[in-house]
């Protein structure tokens, strides 16, 4: 009896202790408080990008929907709205965007060095804007002058703001320049001397994917949590090498066979199983968001699915290497389905680890890093060797970086059509990139490149 009483008292004590130690995420108020903490559960590939996005200040950033008072405090660059910058005060272009003059808001030497590291080819520091320019065969000279920093390109570069959004400011010692600094424990802490002040979330703790956190990449679609998505979806693309495209094992060039293939692979089921329904089959490479609404390509509707049967395979059966990111469930699931379909055609698919896809197939998740379709396709081509650009003397080649936005869009659609006609690119699915958030977490945003930012986030008021 006494023991039971003691146990009861102990249980009550534990309950009280637990209640005392369980702290609400925050008690928020009208103006966010500083010194808050947020936890993020991300996969390994997203983790690196997210950390980098918080540690380094982008040379330009796109902030559209701001309150008027915030827009006044952090105004857009004159003539280039909605691009804003803490590094560049003004931008001017001359000679049909061949020469750009940037007025730095910080020490010109710092900005100049950061621009050079970002735009000029550099083996030490990977930079996708430099890759884009190299793919388009554009060279750049960065020069400091009294008026500002001149960027002289060998060809017109119209969408420079889109490229500068992929550039970051490197401080004199190579340390972080953004609103956060890394600590030895792997967490990021808010900088006291950040250019736009200390962020409200002064502690970012990263957790492995699958664990509970305030922000979860691709988390479960629960009603009590908020969901934010990237501005445009990822595209799951089957890419074929030139040789494989010519062989055309599934008959993609024949609309009826293409349609039979799609019916057999059952893309809707793949989205339901591996992406909780957040996606859809697609016939286009450029996702909505990059390009305006357009009439979809049409394939015959009334076709029989490609027959799936077990056929004997001899020693000389063709084997096709396929490169897939093993960490991506949707890609792996699609690959397994493709393997079954290839097997019924008498072809063996062999999983390949390398990311260089000159031979065979590759199944990739393309997350466009820019909202500009020309830049996005050049970026895709720069990182996939089997995607060839038009000849350097053709107008299409120049138009991808044209000054005029419509011309760039037109060129991008033309290039997309060319690649698909060649059979090197087979778009399969559009898959959303989404994050689930704690219901009280406010003002989390996702950049064009799909990176989630909590620099401006804060905890909302207690309901």
């Amino acid at each position: 009896m006494r023991t039971q009483k003691r146990k009861g008292v102990a249980a009550q004590f534990i309950v009280v202790l637990v209640c005392m130690t369980v702290v609400h995420p925050t008690l928020a108020r009208r103006m966010p408080a500083l010194g808050e903490k947020v936890t993020l559960s991300l996969d390994s590939s997203t983790l690196a990008g997210t950390r980098h996005a918080h540690l380094f200040l982008p040379l330009l950033e796109k902030l559209g929907a701001l309150e008027q008072r915030e827009a006044l405090a952090y105004p857009a660059i004159k003539g280039f709205s909605p691009w804003r910058s803490q590094v560049i005060r003004s931008m001017e272009r001359t000679l049909a965007s061949r020469v750009w003059l940037l007025e730095p808001a910080l020490a010109p030497a710092l900005v100049e060095r950061s621009l050079r590291r970002c735009l000029a080819p550099n083996q030490d520091v990977p930079s996708w804007p430099a890759d884009v320019l190299a793919k388009a065969e554009v060279s750049v000279e960065v020069e400091s002058a009294e008026k500002g920093i001149y960027l002289r390109f060998s060809k017109p570069v119209g969408p420079l703001p889109h490229l500068l959004a992929g550039c970051v400011l490197y401080s004199s010692h190579g340390n972080s320049s953004g609103p956060y600094v890394a600590t030895s424990r792997g967490v990021l802490t808010g900088r006291q001397d950040a250019l736009r002040g200390t962020p409200s979330m002064s502690l970012l703790e990263f957790r492995p994917k699958g664990t509970d956190a305030d922000v979860v990449l691709g988390g479960e679609d629960l009603s009590e949590r908020q969901v934010v998505s990237a501005p445009f979806p990822d595209v799951i693309v089957l890419m074929q090498s030139r040789g494989e495209a010519q062989k055309d094992r599934f008959g993609f060039k024949n609309p009826e066979r293409h349609s039979s293939f799609r019916k057999a692979i059952d893309l809707d089921a793949l989205v339901d199983v591996f992406a909780i329904g957040r996606g859809a089959p697609t016939l286009e490479l450029l996702p909505p968001g990059l390009v305006p609404a357009r009439k979809l390509r049409e394939l015959p509707q009334k076709v029989n699915p490609l027959p799936l049967r077990l056929v004997p395979i001899g020693k000389n059966a063709p084997t096709v290497p396929i490169a897939v990111d093993a960490n991506d469930a949707l890609l792996t699931g699609t690959m397994e389905r493709l393997r079954v379909m290839a097997r019924s055609q008498g072809v063996l698919l062999r999983r390949h680890r390398t990311s260089v896809r000159t031979e065979g197939w590759s199944l990739i998740r393309w997350s466009p890093r820019s909202a500009d379709p020309g830049v996005a396709l050049l970026d895709l081509a720069a990182h996939n060797d089997n995607l060839e650009l038009p000849r350097a003397d053709s107008p299409l080649f120049f138009q991808l970086l044209d000054e005029d936005e419509d011309t760039r869009l037109q060129a991008a659609l033309q290039l997309e059509a060319q690649w698909m006609a060649q059979g090197v690119v087979i778009p399969l699915l559009r898959a959303e990139r989404w994050f689930t958030l704690h219901p009280l977490l406010k003002r989390v945003r996702v950049r064009d490149d799909g990176m989630l930012l909590v620099s401006d986030a804060h905890w909302g008021a207690t309901p």
Partner: protein, 554 residues
Amino acid sequence: MPVAEKKMQYAPKAPSFSTERRFFCVADEGRLPQRSFINIVYRIFHGFLLSSFLGLALAILSSTALWAQELSIEEAAGTPALTSLVAEDGQVSKDVRVTHSEEVSSQESDGSEVEKAESRRIRLEKQVASRINIQSDDVAVLVLRTSEAIESRLQSEGSQDDIRLEVSAGAGVDARKLKRVFAPRLEAQLRKRGKVRPNPRARLRAQALVSTNGTRLFVVVTLEGGRLLGPSTVVVSAAQSMTLERSLGGNPGRGQTHFVMRRVGLLPAGVLDVFLIDLQGDFVDELAVLSLSGLTLYELLPSTYEWEKLEHADFPRTKGAEHLRWPRLLAGWLGKDGQGRIHGATTAGHSFVFDFRTHRMLSSRRSLVPLAQPFFRGVSKKASKSSFKGSILWAMMDKGNPSVRMRRPTSLKGKVAALSKRIRDVQSWRGPQKLRWAWVDDNGFFNVQYLGSATTRPLKGTVGDRFLLADLNGDGEVEALVTSSGGPGESDSLSVISLTGVELPSPIFRQGFPAGSITALAQGDVDLDERVDVLLVEEGQGKNAVLWHLEYAP
């Protein structure tokens, strides 16, 4: 026959022309002339003389009054805002009336004549009003545009019949004002134009709904019936102006106790704090606005009741830095010291003092935040020297942080028992109920401390950062004005709660702001009516912030 009437039947024996008073003082009955032929001739002649004189006097009086009134209007016409105000149908602005009534009152003193003069004045005012060009009146313009739009639509629909006009009030519009100001004008305008005539028995029905939405006033006319094949809608909108607001604006807080809240103007967006201060020594407070662009002073024009910019001062340049960057969290504070100078600080690091007399804006000590106090009450002699200066309680700020620290916590120790380490706002008060301190702590809770008792939290939830303590209804009890704790970009609300020591008091006034947030609030006296006036700034997505006036109206 009443004596007075009898008196008026007879003329005086010898009319005096010295003063009007003597002239109207007729002779008494005992001195009436006898009834004879000569007398009759005399009376006829005298009557003629009297009526001629009366007519002449009236003509002189009328022309003098009219001249005086026109003069005052011409003088006022120099300010464009005034011309828009004087054009109400049958109404003349207050200052015009004053000028005219002074002119008339100097000539009369007798009670019966005052009535006559009053009726004459009203008649003259109507004459003057009819002569004023009403095109500058926003309501007239709106009426004109609406009637044009109705005509145009009916013409395009091929149904230019008589219409049955029905005007009703929607959100933000006073139905009574609408009925008095807008509906008759619209009807008159349509009748005057003649293409579509209002007729209460017409089959074609035109239902006009007038409402405000954001910073615009909308007239949505639904045309239905008659020869129209189907319903048709006409929409006319106009930017909300002071004239429209005064002519048609409703009281959104109507029905809630005795508080009146009305929109009194627009300010450029980016307001951080406002403060009411009497800079010109005329007992009417001017409005100091701290915004992202600096400090701007506004004065209230009594003729138009519009806030007009008085002066603007940019933030002082700091040594070694071209300009200070605005942090993510935008906040600012304003206060007035004992010498009448305005002190200000922002989360960007600006810290300044502005002297209206010398028009100089100077940098002041960094990181000091002026927390404006409703009344200066020193905590102690020693503390009052260090912690208080005029009606300001000084606090310390860290750049980019909207929370402030008390400058010398020790000086308030024992006086404010549980003052948090970091607070959002604090105010002191001394009233009959012995409330001493109220503050919003860093967690967003509203705390009050009464003299000699422990700290309490009268509200269950969290509140906005800034609040006001004021005796709004003049009953000697203190009320607190608090906002909701929604974050930036979320909807807001204002609550007035009575701090009489009751736990969890229900608001005595509550007003929602679904499209914006209250970014600043101040108290003072802007209309010399001996009641506390509260000005609030509501800011949303638009380029302008809305200035509201809250007042107790028994």
